[in-house]
Symmetry: none
Subunit: 418 residues, 2 copies
């Protein structure tokens, strides 16, 4: 099955918005064995959109359209779809009810613009959008499927996951494919490539390996293509078992796992809770924990100590330690970790103190210098790192590294029980 993605919106063409939707859709379709043949971004212009639909219909069997829906876009995509499929609009009662419900939950009175959201092309199948007011729309003609979705990323992703991908799977046109992604942290990409080179070369020809590094980890994706799904599953998992023996400490999870989520599970298994003292990470570690539903079971709280006064008053850091070693020091990191563990009465604690940048660096402690301490039930561990990146990346890398240190400490302290 060959697909084309059409994104509609002036904001992409003038560069105000980076088109991250297409990359996400491309990755998902690829996982289902559907090849994205072309991505086309066009204006909020009726004739231009119609031309793009007609061109795509000649090229591919699946056209995924995002954007150009909603009152402020004057529903330009919906009108173009009506013209393209030669039909009128009808009110869809389910959509009208859904829009009314959503707005009343937000205490917003429905107006004509909202009501117009329930107007859909006669020839479409409506796809329920649980995340917003503009519905998804599915059309079929002469062997080509057209799907229209809103351009708001979380609405598009919700519709793809809930409605579009399951329906595409049901068409049976997708190839058999089996994917597993191994999540790796704490090793540079080039060193990882060297370490696993022999293993990679020995992979059977029907398994492909992809390196997918992002700011939070390196993802190693194994994709197996073939006719026997059970064989693919077995062989991929066998290869992953071998990989585990080569880099045991660097693999922290699989597929959609996150470092904080994995560490949270370890805390639950150990019957323990964590507290965090953040200086340079400024709340980022807390956020990485609390973005996981149910995190209150293992995450007790944090102190963001962005001034020496707060480090002393709330965490009990000794002013003498601050004077002797400076706020960015192993000694202060350690006192912050012990202080927050005591103040919040937990079994584990993390502390960070550093220079995120762009200013504040010195020759001895350049921008990116970060001291991280983790404290457990029997052990403590302090490290000094130099992350030579921009502010955003320094904060993210420090946070992820700190949680990884906690993960390793919990594993060390609980080898018997976990």
């Amino acid at each position: 099955m060959k697909a084309e993605i059409i994104t509609i919106g002036d904001e992409i063409l003038i560069g105000q918005v980076v088109d991250t939707n297409s990359a996400w859709m491309g990755e998902q379709l690829n996982l289902y064995g559907i090849e994205v043949y072309q991505i086309t971004s066009v204006h909020d212009n009726h004739d231009h959109i119609l031309q793009a639909f007609a061109d795509a219909e000649k090229r591919v069997d699946l056209v995924l359209i995002t954007g150009g829906l909603g009152p402020t876009k004057d529903d330009i995509t919906k009108k173009a779809l009506c013209d393209f499929f030669d039909c009128g609009m009808v009110v869809n009662e389910q959509v009208l009810q859904h829009v009314t419900d959503m707005l009343s939950r937000r205490n917003v009175a429905i107006n004509q613009l909202n009501k117009d959201q329930a107007l859909v092309p006669e020839k479409c199948t409506v796809l329920h959008n649980a995340y917003g007011t503009a519905p998804g729309m599915w059309f079929e003609r002469g062997g080509t499927i057209f799907v229209s979705m809103p351009g708001v990323p979380f609405e598009m992703k919700g519709l793809m996951n809930d409605q579009v991908l399951p329906r595409l799977r049901d068409t049976g046109k997708a190839k058999s494919i089996y994917h597993q992604t191994v999540l790796v942290y704490g090793i540079p990409e080039s060193m990882l490539a060297e370490k696993i080179e022999a293993w990679e070369l020995a992979l059977p020809p029907f398994i492909k390996l992809a390196y997918l590094p992002n700011q939070l980890m390196i993802r190693l994706r194994l994709s197996a293509y073939g006719s026997d799904p059970e064989l693919l599953r077995k062989e991929v998992n066998r290869q992953i078992e071998t990989l585990r023996t080569i880099i045991p400490n660097h693999i922290f999870g699989y597929n959609g796992d996150t470092m904080a989520g994995v560490t949270g599970k370890l805390l639950v298994q150990a019957g323990a809770m964590v507290a965090v003292a953040e200086s340079c990470t400024g709340g980022a570690i807390s956020q990485l924990f609390t973005e996981n539903p149910g995190s209150s079971v293992y995450f007790k709280g944090a102190v963001v100590a962005y001034s020496n006064e707060t480090k002393t008053a709330l965490l009990g850091v000794n002013t003498k330690t601050l004077q002797a070693h400076g706020a960015v020091s192993r000694e202060v990191a350690l006192e912050m970790a012990e202080g927050v563990k005591k103040a919040l009465n937990t079994e584990y604690a993390i502390a960070t103190t550093g220079i995120a940048g762009p200013d504040g660096g010195t020759e001895e402690k350049p921008v990116g210098t970060v001291c991280i301490a983790v404290s457990g039930q029997h052990q403590v561990w302090v490290e000094r790192y130099t992350f030579a990146h921009n502010r955003e990346r320094n904060i993210l890398r420090s946070s992820q590294t700190a949680i990884n240190m906690l993960r390793q400490l919990i594993l060390t302290e609980n080898t018997e029980t976990i």
Copy 2:
């Protein structure tokens, strides 16, 4: 002048790489008054690339091509350009010398693959690439300009700035254009559209309005096209002045501003600092403040109180208040704000307590119920909201709303001084 951007590379279509090049080019061209009519991403495939060139030639006067150059891509773009312009390849001596120089500086011996970089289509004008070994190439035919550049972002940007944009300016075909983006918060999109409808309809025909909502705000972009840059600037700014009188409380900034950044500037002007007590937002408010360089001047710290015990121990929330009203209540939010203001010794404080979801909701307090308190030098302000979204959005909306409440409180308390 109308342009099309063609990006060549499988990595974009399978979603391994987000196409940030096109957004950057779109923005630059726009600043030069060149309209990007379409963006097309195609495979590393000869026939597909040729077809894309032919289609683009019919649509626009300028085609900017990135990617598909260099040995690992088998120079597929260069070969397609030769076929498209019906010419052979020749060795360009300047490019050969440049490649040799670059490699010798890196102590790399030149091989045949490197030498092939100096082969260029006969009919092109070579554009010197100071940032890499693959040259830029400029073609003209029947009124349409084609430019090919490497896909590596910093090489493409260097070539655009040094060579392509100056040459395009010299063609004299560019229109004058002027953009301003107004940042709006705290009003649903449909209500905003109604409120400013009359103003929008009265805009002169050479000014276009675009709604660009994202999870953190609604951006209203005014774009003016014409021949007199000074007139465009004046008229856009005059229209924005009128808009300010219609929605004075909802406009919080312009162009690249952020809510936390704007609020930080107000704190600095008021000579004051803020402390934050976060329950349901779990560190997100702290992060929105601390992602700004220099935020330690106005952000003193935070307590992430993810358990009642922490709310009591660190923020001094009364256990009776917790029992009487529950953790998610206006009363607790207020005590949290007052508590963190006292503990961290600041002039201003923000507190949040709520149910981010997906679990924990009740009939009386459904998921998305959030109480937010802000406390200032003379006033306090508490609100209860219902954000009916998923966990991530509930956290983000609560955080942005809380900072917006602080912004409004600072403005109220300091009308004389700010």
